[in-house]
């Protein structure tokens, strides 16, 4: 009879996670957002977000259409029209142009008076923008976190596993990166790399790896002389096999938790960068560009774009942080209760 197999780390963690109601609900919210993002990325929803479907700054359905504005349009002149034909140098060609214009058809699309969550300054649907913006913002946050995790894990593993001069060199690099405040480092990178989505991801990844590096390095230092790693060495496992096949799976929960915290941080950074004009280009939409537009709209009393972007972002970020907390508690019960 073989002894009963004990649960794997992940199965045990899942069992603990299932008991955490807050964690489960937030996981559900995050999954719903992910579905929305997949739908938006594949063009099922919000593909037409750039279409001007409503009147400029159309109010949301609940408010009803805006009353016709008395001041709208220029005042019509009331006097008789003066005949300028004698002195107008273009006069002989008007007939010809009118003839040519007949060949083209111009459509005058009907613009809605109200939209589900209102429209922006150009009459674009705020709901569609928010969905598309969610896609871009979350995409940037997750990709940047993956990049930062990759850099941090690799360098941390090298420094912690090999020690000696490798560690000295990497510690030096770490000191250099932490000596400059993050925001300034981001600006310096932005100044030379230019603008764009890829740039934002690269910049955030290059600036954000330091915290994870320290943690992974400490874990590798702890694990490299453990018995199971020495046993692997004794049967001839190469250093890279020991690092990435033996040690890495044992510390992957640390990395996962850290990475999910980074996603939240990077989403917030993207919003700020886009507001400052260093992030998402103007032909794209993200939560940050929506908030930037909302600032001038608010003075006119058009609060719906601000509200929509804020609610989308607050719900996602809250759910994601709570989910990350629950993951940390489930994966590393020793840490429970620590901030």
């Amino acid at each position: 009879m073989s002894p009963p197999r004990s649960d794997s780390v992940w199965r045990a963690a899942w069992r603990r996670f299932r008991r955490d109601r807050v964690g489960l609900v937030s996981l559900g919210v995050v999954l719903a957002f992910l579905l929305l993002i997949v739908a938006s990325a594949s063009g099922l929803v919000a593909r037409q977000w750039q279409q001007e479907v409503g009147v400029p700054s159309a109010p949301p359905h609940v408010l009803g259409p805006r009353p016709p504005d008395a001041a709208e349009g220029a005042i019509q002149p009331s006097g008789p029209n003066v005949d300028l034909t004698d002195i107008d140098p273009l006069a002989p060609r008007y007939a010809e142009w009118a003839e040519r214009a007949k060949h083209y058809r111009s459509a005058d699309p009907v613009r809605a008076d109200t939209l589900p969550l209102g429209g922006d300054r150009m009459g674009r649907d705020v709901l569609a923008k928010a969905v598309k913006g969610t896609e871009i913002s979350v995409f940037v946050g997750v990709l940047a976190a993956v990049l930062a995790t990759g850099i941090g894990t690799l360098l941390g593993a090298l420094a912690g596993f090999f020690g000696r001069w490798v560690d000295d060199v990497l510690e030096w690099v770490y000191n250099v990166f932490t000596a400059v405040p993050d925001i300034l480092l981001i600006f310096a990178f932005a100044a030379v790399f230019g603008r764009g989505l890829t740039t934002v991801v690269v910049i955030l990844g290059l600036v954000g790896w330091t915290g994870l590096y320290r943690q992974v390095r400490a874990e590798f230092m702890k694990h490299r002389s453990r018995d199971y790693v020495r046993a692997a060495e004794a049967i001839g496992a190469s250093p890279s096999a020991r690092m990435f096949q033996h040690i890495l799976p044992n510390i992957s929960h640390v990395i996962l938790v850290r990475m999910s915290l980074m996603v939240v941080g990077f989403i917030k950074s993207e919003v700020i960068l886009s507001y400052l004009g260093l992030g998402v280009p103007i032909d794209q939409v993200s939560w940050g560009t929506m908030l930037a537009e909302a600032q001038s709209e608010l003075i006119l009393g058009h609060w719906w774009q601000l509200a929509t972007a804020t609610v989308f972002m607050a719900v996602f970020v809250t759910a994601f942080s709570l989910m990350a907390d629950a993951w940390r508690d489930a994966l590393d019960p020793k840490l429970k209760g620590q901030a």
């Binding site: 400059v180 310096a188 100044a191 901030a339």
Partner: protein, 312 residues
């Protein structure tokens, strides 16, 4: 003590050299050609070549690195490419505005959060705990942008308590008229997370044996907190404050942009948008030096607040 100081200062040299190399490699390797940027759109090839020669760009890279190092040591960064203002003058004129906004913010933040955290730690219980936790999570999930946009609209535009934005030449007018709104907003937003952080420092100390001893010998709860717990929790608090201190000098970029405050942060952002390399390079290098000096200062303060700390 002196030996410690000298050793720490000596250790800064390689790190600083790294920062200089990073900045140099970044702008040299990835940035656009400064000569082309400087010459403008209608420049002839000869003009570009002349600028290149003037800046030393036709020299090998190690020679250019030498020029860069000389600029750092002599504090002579030349002129901003966009405005022709010397970088030194730019620092001297923009820094006061940044300090005028950031100092009250920084002081008020600590003065409010520490007593509040002490109070919360004293009445600790699952309810205060949960309330603080929920408020913090929700408060942090909303972008800081939203707070500033709504705050400016509500307090500045709707209620009219403060001017929406602006700046004057008099420090007093600035402090009484233009600074309160940004300070109020930042402190309000930061208060709950800061309180939670400081509270966790106090709770860590509350679990220690010396607290039980102090209580056992009959000290009042107030004496336990102010005489024992507060002093022992000073080290993590100082670390936290020390980490936030360099931020004062660069200013909060967002605050300065939002409230049209002519400070250093806004200037750096403008420089980024104009590819004004000298300004960005100078700020990055000097702020790195400042950060390292502040870290050293924090370490020295540990000794002051806790004589048991041995610096070595």
């Amino acid at each position: 003590m002196l030996a410690y100081l000298i050793r720490r200062l000596w250790q800064m040299v390689p790190t600083l050299l790294g920062v200089v190399l990073l900045v140099f490699a970044l702008f040299k390797g990835f940035g656009a050609d400064p000569a082309v940027l400087l010459a403008g759109q209608n420049a002839t090839q000869a003009q570009i070549a002349a600028i290149r020669q003037e800046l030393g760009l036709d020299q090998p890279w190690w020679f250019q690195l030498g020029i860069f190092l000389k600029q750092i040591i002599t504090f002579d960064w030349g002129k901003s490419w966009a405005t022709g203002e010397t970088v030194a003058h730019l620092f001297a004129t923009r820094l006061p505005a940044t300090l005028t906004v950031m100092t009250p913010m920084f002081v008020l933040d600590a003065l409010l959060a520490i007593p509040l955290a002490l109070a919360v730690a004293r009445v600790r219980g699952s309810l205060t705990d949960r309330v603080l936790m929920v408020v913090t999570t929700v408060a942090l999930s909303i972008s800081f942008l939203v707070y500033v946009i709504v705050g400016q609209y509500l307090f500045g535009y709707q209620l009219g308590w403060f001017p929406v934005q602006g700046w004057s030449d008099s420090v007093w007018t600035n402090l009484t008229t233009y600074v309160p709104l940004p300070v109020l907003l930042v402190v309000l937003v930061g208060l709950s997370p800061q309180t939670r952080l400081y509270r966790s420092f106090f709770l860590d100390e509350l679990g220690q044996d010396y607290v039980r001893t102090a209580r056992a010998k009959g000290l009042s709860e107030g004496a336990v907190f102010y005489r024992h717990v507060l002093r022992n929790a000073m080290i993590p608090i100082l670390t936290n404050i020390g980490m936030a201190l360099p931020g004062i000098f660069i200013g909060s970029f967002l605050i300065e942009v939002f409230f049209s405050i002519p400070g250093l942060g806004r200037e750096v952002l403008l420089a980024v948008n104009r590819s004004d390399y000298p300004v960005i390079q100078a700020t990055t290098v000097y702020l790195a030096v400042l950060t390292m000096l502040i870290n050293l200062g924090t370490d020295l303060l540990y000794k002051v607040v806790d004589p048991r700390v041995v610096l070595k």
